[in-house]
């Protein structure tokens, strides 16, 4: 089983490698949307600094959400998903490997890019470390929860917007505590509590999401 998961994981990475610089797209998306805000709202630095933690979180969330729609779509169309379902390997473990690869290619780069974007938005430096930690924890939860939505909508011709609808409500708690942690760090408050909560949500998602993903996939493929 471990070896099957490892192969599955490597397969995702090879697919991503073949498709070239795809991992960079969510980063560009986030940067572009962040650029839209000063353009659409106002370029006043104090205003930007106020909205920076929330803006960074919301855009990171949207970037992940957008990339999630494709998580199972290709495998569904070419029949690979059917083969995974009919494998004697535990489907939940395979899904976990897939989801982890997804996080590695989107969540991790987004978390690492955040300091740069934060500085662009004149986010005080005291918040940077917390921002990265919180994003690292939160983005794994985003990947796991999002994969459930992707699995539920994979057989539908236009999943994109519906996926967002299903999954955004579940992202809200992560967003609140994630942005809360950053705000707390800037204002000198305690960051331990929100970070611990983010960790707890991650643990919960890690323990239950793979099974939800697996059963959602079974439903989507077999009706």
């Amino acid at each position: 089983m471990m070896s099957a998961c490892a192969v599955q994981f490597k397969r995702e990475l090879s697919i991503a490698r073949r498709r070239g610089s795809e991992w960079i797209n969510p980063l560009l998306f986030q940067s572009l949307v962040i650029v839209l805000f000063p353009l659409g709202i106002s370029p006043r630095p104090d205003l930007l600094a106020t909205i920076a933690p929330g803006l960074l979180w919301v855009t990171a969330l949207l970037a992940m959400l957008l990339s999630l729609d494709a998580l199972f779509r290709g495998d569904f169309a070419d029949g690979s998903l059917e083969q995974m379902l009919l494998s004697s390997q535990p489907l939940a473990a395979l899904c976990l490997a897939k989801t982890f690869a997804h996080w590695l290619l989107t969540g991790l780069p987004l978390a690492l890019l955040a300091p740069v974007l934060g500085l662009l938005l004149s986010l005080p430096v005291t918040g940077i470390a917390t921002l990265v930690t919180a994003l690292l924890l939160g983005s794994v939860t985003f990947s796991l929860l999002g994969a459930i939505g992707a699995a539920l909508t994979v057989s539908l011709p236009r999943g994109g917007v519906l996926l967002s609808l299903l999954i955004l409500p579940f992202y809200i708690p992560v967003l609140i505590f994630g942005a809360g942690a950053v705000t707390a760090a800037i204002s000198g408050g305690s960051v331990a509590a929100p970070l611990a909560l983010l960790g707890a949500m991650l643990a919960l998602a890690l323990a239950s999401a793979p099974f939800a993903i697996a059963s959602a996939l079974r439903i989507s493929v077999n009706g």
């Binding site: 609808l165 579940f170 708690p173 439903i219 989507s220």
Partner: protein, 243 residues
């Protein structure tokens, strides 16, 4: 017991059972709601702090409680559907969802109205209010997901999985007032303590809550019957019934 569950799973039998139970719940709902409404609006005393505006509580609290109870009922139905593959459970869940969404909306709306005189704002991003808003979105997501599937059976299973995932929000709504110190007050009714309000206030409230429950059950039975007819329209008993 097993026989009973099995029987309950038979649409025809259930259709008849719903038909027999339905009038009683309609009667109970009407009585309770009328009594509760008259008592709460006309006879219970004004609040010493909030004056008459507190009377919104008689809509707000039942709606908020129902919003959560309906979801719990949908979760149970989903479990039954996924484990025992009883289609009836899914039909029940499907007719409950819009009602749950309506109750959530009513709870939010009445709370917002009530917030204007008491908190001075109709909305704050407090934990309970937020989790209630999330609940509304979850209901909408569930309804949208069901609508997105052309294949009814597939949509039913997908919705059941989403319902099971969504139920995590219920304890959050319930305990948000304890976990975070917020504007919103904690529970009036608990199993262990007597309510802090005077009886002349909480008894009509209790009546209203029961009335809402009976209304919910009556409406669900009614809509379940038409759902059964719709989904079973190809079976012989429905066709005979329609003639």
């Amino acid at each position: 017991m097993w026989k009973f569950i099995h029987k309950l799973g038979s649409p025809k039998w259930c259709y008849q059972l719903c038909g027999r139970l339905q009038p009683w719940f309609w009667i109970a709902a009407t009585t309770l709601l009328v009594v509760g409404a008259v008592w709460s609006l006309a006879f219970s005393p004004p609040d010493y702090q909030m004056g008459d505006s507190y009377r919104i509580i008689y809509v707000h609290v039942p709606a908020a409680i129902l919003a959560q109870s309906v979801f719990v009922a949908m979760t149970l139905a989903s479990v039954v559907f996924l484990v025992w593959k009883i289609k009836l459970a899914d039909m029940a869940a499907s007719v409950m969802a819009p009602f749950g969404a309506a109750m959530t909306f009513l709870g939010l709306f009445s709370g917002a109205l009530w917030g204007i005189p008491t908190w001075g704002t109709w909305w704050t991003w407090d934990a309970r209010l937020t989790s209630m808003l999330i609940q509304l979105f979850i209901y909408i997501g569930i309804i949208a997901l069901r609508g997105a599937f052309a294949n009814t059976g597939q949509g039913a299973k997908a919705v059941a999985v989403l319902t099971l995932v969504g139920v995590v929000n219920i304890p959050i709504i319930k305990y948000s007032v304890y976990w975070w110190n917020t504007l919103h007050q904690p529970a009036t009714f608990t199993l262990t303590e007597r309510p802090a309000m005077p009886a002349s206030m909480w008894v009509p409230l209790l009546i209203m809550v029961l009335g809402f429950y009976c209304f919910f059950i009556a409406l669900t039975l009614y809509r379940l019957r038409s759902e059964i007819l719709k989904r079973e329209s190809r079976t012989r008993w429905v066709q005979e019934f329609m003639m």
